[in-house]
Symmetry: C3
Amino acid sequence: MYSLGTSVDAAFLLFSAYLVFVLQAGFAMLTAGSARAQNKLNVMLTTVVDAAVCAIFYYIFGFACAYGRPWNGFVGRGDFTEWLNLANSAQFDEYFNPRRGENHPWNPLANHRVWVFEWATAAAVAAIASGAMAERSQVTAHVACSAFLSGFVYPVICHWVWEPHGWLSVYSQGTRLMGVGMIDIAGSGAIHLTGAIAGFWGAIILGPRRGRFHSNGADDAAQPKESSSQGGRSTLVVMGTLLLWLGWYGINPGSILGIVPKHYVAMDVVVDRAAVTTTLAGAAAAITMLFARRLMRGRWDVEDACSGLLGGLVAVSAGCTVIEPSVAVLLGFLAAWMLIGTKQLAMAVGLDDPVEAVQRHGACGLLGLLFVGLLAKEDHVMQTFGDGYSNQETPCGWLYGIRGRKLLAAQAIGAACVVGWTSVAMAPLFLMLRMAGLLRISEEEEDARLGFSADDNYEHVLGQER
Amino acid sequence: MYSLGTSVDAAFLLFSAYLVFVLQAGFAMLTAGSARAQNKLNVMLTTVVDAAVCAIFYYIFGFACAYGRPWNGFVGRGDFTEWLNLANSAQFDEYFNPRRGENHPWNPLANHRVWVFEWATAAAVAAIASGAMAERSQVTAHVACSAFLSGFVYPVICHWVWEPHGWLSVYSQGTRLMGVGMIDIAGSGAIHLTGAIAGFWGAIILGPRRGRFHSNGADDAAQPKESSSQGGRSTLVVMGTLLLWLGWYGINPGSILGIVPKHYVAMDVVVDRAAVTTTLAGAAAAITMLFARRLMRGRWDVEDACSGLLGGLVAVSAGCTVIEPSVAVLLGFLAAWMLIGTKQLAMAVGLDDPVEAVQRHGACGLLGLLFVGLLAKEDHVMQTFGDGYSNQETPCGWLYGIRGRKLLAAQAIGAACVVGWTSVAMAPLFLMLRMAGLLRISEEEEDARLGFSADDNYEHVLGQER
Amino acid sequence: MYSLGTSVDAAFLLFSAYLVFVLQAGFAMLTAGSARAQNKLNVMLTTVVDAAVCAIFYYIFGFACAYGRPWNGFVGRGDFTEWLNLANSAQFDEYFNPRRGENHPWNPLANHRVWVFEWATAAAVAAIASGAMAERSQVTAHVACSAFLSGFVYPVICHWVWEPHGWLSVYSQGTRLMGVGMIDIAGSGAIHLTGAIAGFWGAIILGPRRGRFHSNGADDAAQPKESSSQGGRSTLVVMGTLLLWLGWYGINPGSILGIVPKHYVAMDVVVDRAAVTTTLAGAAAAITMLFARRLMRGRWDVEDACSGLLGGLVAVSAGCTVIEPSVAVLLGFLAAWMLIGTKQLAMAVGLDDPVEAVQRHGACGLLGLLFVGLLAKEDHVMQTFGDGYSNQETPCGWLYGIRGRKLLAAQAIGAACVVGWTSVAMAPLFLMLRMAGLLRISEEEEDARLGFSADDNYEHVLGQER
């Protein structure tokens, strides 16, 4: 009951969660580096506020939805009274205490350290969505978006994908989708695709930034109009990228949630593999993107390497423990081309997404999900999910055998459901915010932020939004 | 003797210590972001120098004072010869080696990894004090302040509060203060209040920065006179805040000093709780402060969210493992209002403290200490301190029962002693430095730093201080 | 077989590896802070590209060279078919899988988590070399240099120094060099000296930056011509230094590769000691350098403290677990004077190395190697290398006894071999790149980068290099 193994897993998960939190710092720097100079403040503010709002809403609502008492496969729950009484310490303690939890039908995932880890991922989802809406949205809109995402929309997807009773879950102990369940270990779908789709609707409903498409035909969404602090911009982008790379070592290996042997499998081998595939996929994507764009445009661009790197990291998340390192290199290569293609597409359709969240997290997340259906290795799947498949057929990727088509189908269905649910939930929210006049800042303020403001205090004080 | 559990605790404590070290980077960025542009250099220098000076002085003097051979409850000691001979390796090794240490009456805390963790906290104390003195103090003054704080003043408080023979200590194996001892798990009092009081006397004795109060009646201590790199300032403040938030996961859960089961208690549950309460208190304070100031001033201010966040983190440190998560939200709410109030107060009394260290670390630290006396939960106290209370009454907060008044009294006495001792020790130091002309930079230099210097080299070379 | 201890070591090594990765962020900021403003972009780009290129080349070639099947003491290998077939998953899996690896003659170091740790060190070597070549080299040259260093040159040295079959290795199970082997625990020689010598030849063959030595007789290699963002520069230098300091806690204690008891030795004591000596050597060097230069030049300079700190950290790496804490203070003191001396020397011979990589990593690395030969303590050597010396004489430093001369000789021979091999391997590469016109950017581009470019896009797009 008081086992050393639990302590080791706790330490592993907590420190992984702290690394996931580093993603917030990474997104903050990356978005600030991508924003026009005068908007850094807005961008920076939203990062801190996102993380804080997510903590409160994930605490009150989100965690119960994701990993609460099993209910119907769609969402978890506490009893209605329990929901209202979460502030009641005794119940809350029982609810979260893993020791007592073992004796009642609640979820063994419902403990404090999983809460910390999952909150940090929820904050990452909100940060991805915020990035796509940067520079023209009100603080109120960010708060509403973060609260709804972390309190309800993302937890529902977590429940589907990672909860043993979720209908998409590979961990499911009952009937699995297509007999195999959807494999999304570290959230190419649940985290990145969710965040990107939320950001997509936000960006569409906000509309592009003023002067983004018509002034000078710039072909780079992140092009600054003037560069007041030369070199500072790329510093922020690169530092943000390196911090995100670091944070990915929290989210990918950490998503195993433990490192001690389980079901006679040495989980440390699984965790180690996640660290290797993450590194290689990111590196391959960075190099591919850098050289491909060098050939296409005739000049080196630091943002290409950074953008490619992040695309590779997003793509490898779904299958980080079930693909092989050499296959991860291939995945990184494909992710870079996916990014190059969708970058063009986004320009063509006039989507203004300052940090390219939709391309990086959406397109590459989708690629990662489907790639698992093609190249997941049976051995590695068995290692990763332990006895989950003990009395059933272990799935593998389609390219390893015709029976792999079931896994591919499950991945595609899962992806479609993530996209559909996020769209159905988030688009109405943004439309309502727009109707209420709380979505976009005024034209005067947007113009003011683009020029050099005469107000000395402007720099660290946002304008008079409602 | 060569136990796996010890290794796990060692890894946990070391990595927690590394996160505590991240606080240095956080304080550096936060202070640089709060300083006027020309003073970033001074601020940055002092951070590195503080950490280095603290390492040397904490090594030679501090650690022996804090966790040396028990002596009189006021301060630990080595024999006088041992003090002089710390460079003598054999004695030093025996002194620090935990294996041999078990066989003699010295402190089991006296081992290398505790040294690393405690050094990092000592550096944090020095950084807090330095922040309050920023922009107008000499490098020499910072060195003297850091050396004295880390070599003597702070270790004495550590000895009182955390050493099993300290007279305030809840870990005490003899008679405890008020029968219960003072609960200050991660240093709302011992670290933050100490640093803030040291900084308070430094700031008072230095006097305000030139032009701080009389030029334009600015109501924000951190207002820059001109903003040469727009957006850069808020970037630094936010990044500093996020790094501090990260570092707090080292100091709060890490202060348990281990994660493996102890005295039949699963310490990982205690550690996990610390991570949750830390997150929630910080988040609640950030949101409260952001919205409260929005209502009061009619505009959003990113520094409000950051300031509130840090206030909440400071307040929750004392009781991070003994209060409940829902209560931590309440504490965060109170911390934000405490900050708002003391901000006004500091303006009213003309205290010039560029990073608001006194308000954030002092007022919120005091709040955190007293809050434990109100809302510590008996169950959680028992879990946290293991068999410490095995044959005595376990304390609880006053709001949980009338017998909790003893704990509240102990907390208040402890807070008063921390304030008193730090004042008595530090104020004379600053007065002596002022008399020796080593405290404040010259008026010419201060003016030079405020304007744009004509000297190209000025940027990275400090002036001709004595 | 599925042991808890392995899991603990895995978690320890992985998180150490993540901290080593933080070095990349540190080098990026430090180099950007040392570069002239317009060159930050180039510098930032190369950091990301270095890490990515190293991952791919260390995966395909480097790891097999370093820790592959033992062959001849010079370099490891896979069978030729295995090299070509690394993409073949089954072989790759067998190659890397530590569980299966135990049953065949391959190296127990050949597992995934060691790969992650060693890749991160390889990237650090490449970053050191890149720093010395900053501001005037082509992206292509950086890619070639990183690929060759991480794919072959550095792995060969790893094989010599750390592989149980390497001819310099203290871990060697056969005949050791001078009967004792070379002690270089965390790479003062293998990592820092290698990187510095590679950078030295790069800097020499590139030649100095335009205007570096003849324009105004500046005596500081890092002097900017104009300071467009005052204060920003020192912020970057200090933040880079703090991140490097943090990363050093990954590389020094982490180089033990595990923390659980081994051969009846409590390895956590060894790991703890590494953290303490690292802290003290760095701190002592920082303070020595700051005050020494203050006395010599009459002003405080933040870069002195940072430079000294890094020199001390480099010097302590070789012996971090075998010297005593008090001796580490002495080592830090010496490292600072070594830096001061070599700084003058580099000026005298006209070496233009923007980040002083040759002095910091080369001279201090050499100092660290030889210092081990003088002051390694027998007890600590035995603890660190466990049963390695069970049936042989345990070495100690020369100052502890005349028989220590063997260790000193081994350290000197090892250092000479590292310098020789790196020179022989890297100098021809740079010469070939120069002949191919791929080494240095054009004079026009270099001038353009020094002035303010008229091209708004210049800031984040590198020029038209080949």
